[in-house]
Amino acid sequence: MNRDAGRLSLILLFAPFALWIGLLIVLPQIGIGYVSLREKVGINEYEYGFSNYMAFFGEPIYRNTLLRTAWMSILVTALALVMGFPVAYYIAKMARRQSRAALFLMCLIPLWVSDLVRAYGWIVLLRETGVISTTLVDLGIISQPVEMLYNDITVIIGLVYTVILFMIVPLVSTLQGMDDALLEAGYNLGGSRWTVFRRIIVPYAMPGIVSGCIITFMLAAGSYLTPILLGGKNSSWFTEQIYNQFITRYNWEYGATFGVLLLVFTSFVVWAGLKLTGQSLATTVAKD
């Protein structure tokens, strides 16, 4: 009797999670996978096979856009790590206890505004007749207004700004758990600042670094608004291709194929990143 009740409560507790995973993650993926194997041969006539995938590899535009998206996302992740780490370290270790919460909150505030508004913020700053350009002209530093919008650098700036919080938050929480005694021991044993950083801080922060990098990379590769709004005439982003296939070309089969490929490819990049740096999910993100 008692065991039955226990099992029932377990099932009830587990149900929301199972429904979430099943209905919102597994089922749609199966649907996308199914559509990606379908090829349209005429009006309401379909054949099944891998031809959509073959077509993807046969068309350099799509391949290049996917590679471009991956490279730029890796760059964004690296920049976010380089810029986010000192911030996180300062918040977790150097700031006074009272100011810690305030600093953390200040990092989070931009998240309360939607992506769209933040992108428009950058547009107002960077456009040819925008704040920065006009100020520089007024100060006499440059003679002609310059266009800083509509190129890949702007896209990277915008993306780093959008995702850096997702790097800082896990880093802060990992670093906060680090005992200062470890650092002192390191210095007492004759370690230089660089050695202490390399041998103690980085290994300790590794779970935070890995989870931060995975989240920021996935967010960057899957973002749509920022690259579209800030990017210029040459800045293709892979999610834009997916949108185009579904919406402007009515080609759900290609769109689904691209969706599957984006998922597989980004997962592969994450896996390769873990392998190259000698990390594994079990020893970092899933560590207790």
Partner: protein, 357 residues
Amino acid sequence: MKLGTKLLAATTMMVAASVTLAQAENLRILTWGSYAPEELVKKFEAENPDIKVEVTFSNNEEMIAKLRATGGTGYDLAQPSHDRIYAAQVEYNIYKPLDLSKINMDQLSPNLVEGVKANTTIDGEVYAVPHQWGTSGMMANVKEAPEAKSWLDLCNPEYKGRTSMRLRRTILLGMGFAMGMDPFALYEDKDAYQDMLDKVTAKLIECKDNIKTYWTGGDDLSALMLSGEVVLSETWDSTAFKLYGENQDIHFIPPETGALAWIDTFAIPRGGEADDAAYKWINFVTKPENVKIMSAATGALAAVPDAMSLLPDDKRAAVEAGFTEADMDNLKFFANIPPGIEDMEGLALERIKAASN
């Protein structure tokens, strides 16, 4: 037991609540931004207290994608352009035939009604009636670019870094005309159409250096033109007319090969659940006194007799600054797009976007 009773009571209440909700009918309209101004929605709800209007703003491509995804359910009235209905209906079966006897046809302009009928009649059934119409062409800051008159001027080195366009099918068609071809005549011959697309693609890739950026929406374009960053751009006439109100140097320029004319229509999705309310809305917004409010919001001409006189004064001045009688006669109405054409155009557009120089 007690819990059971409570649950039962709660369920009964919920059922009762949903029944009362169902009595007030919802009219879910899928339309373009500004095609359902707040003022008209309020007026309509005041006249028909039992109908509640819900508006979703969209564009041609998204309308079709949404209705296709749901099999034509989820909305009670849609407003696609006249050339986007035939193929979408044949392929995805997302609309239902209209009952023209429920529409006050004498409120609509007869030649546009005939035009839309010709485009959207399938097996003897009519699927759409016209609502607003307008054109795509160019707009120029006439102080900076007084000579611009052809689509090809967007690629004119004289305006290097100062022109813009939207990377969608309109520019492909416009360039096709400007390069001496007739895309609409080539629709039926896929090979010839591909040939035209290849030529236009090459031209637009070569032209990329000249373009500042591709605009993506009306707001985007307005900011580019008003700030003076762009002096010549492909545009919808309604956007140009709106900007004329803020800067009288910004004129709509119908290209010499003819502005491309579209008609936004009323069509009822196959799974629409409020047909009567939808017909009421159609008859309501095409009444002359309401057309005035609508045209002020959309900046486009209504498909009603004497639409010009129902435009607000500033818009009328803008139209008169842009169009001459000859331009009106030279309009190129978008022809029905056969299935498959948009896929070919999509690839061409992607090639242009991905090309770098």
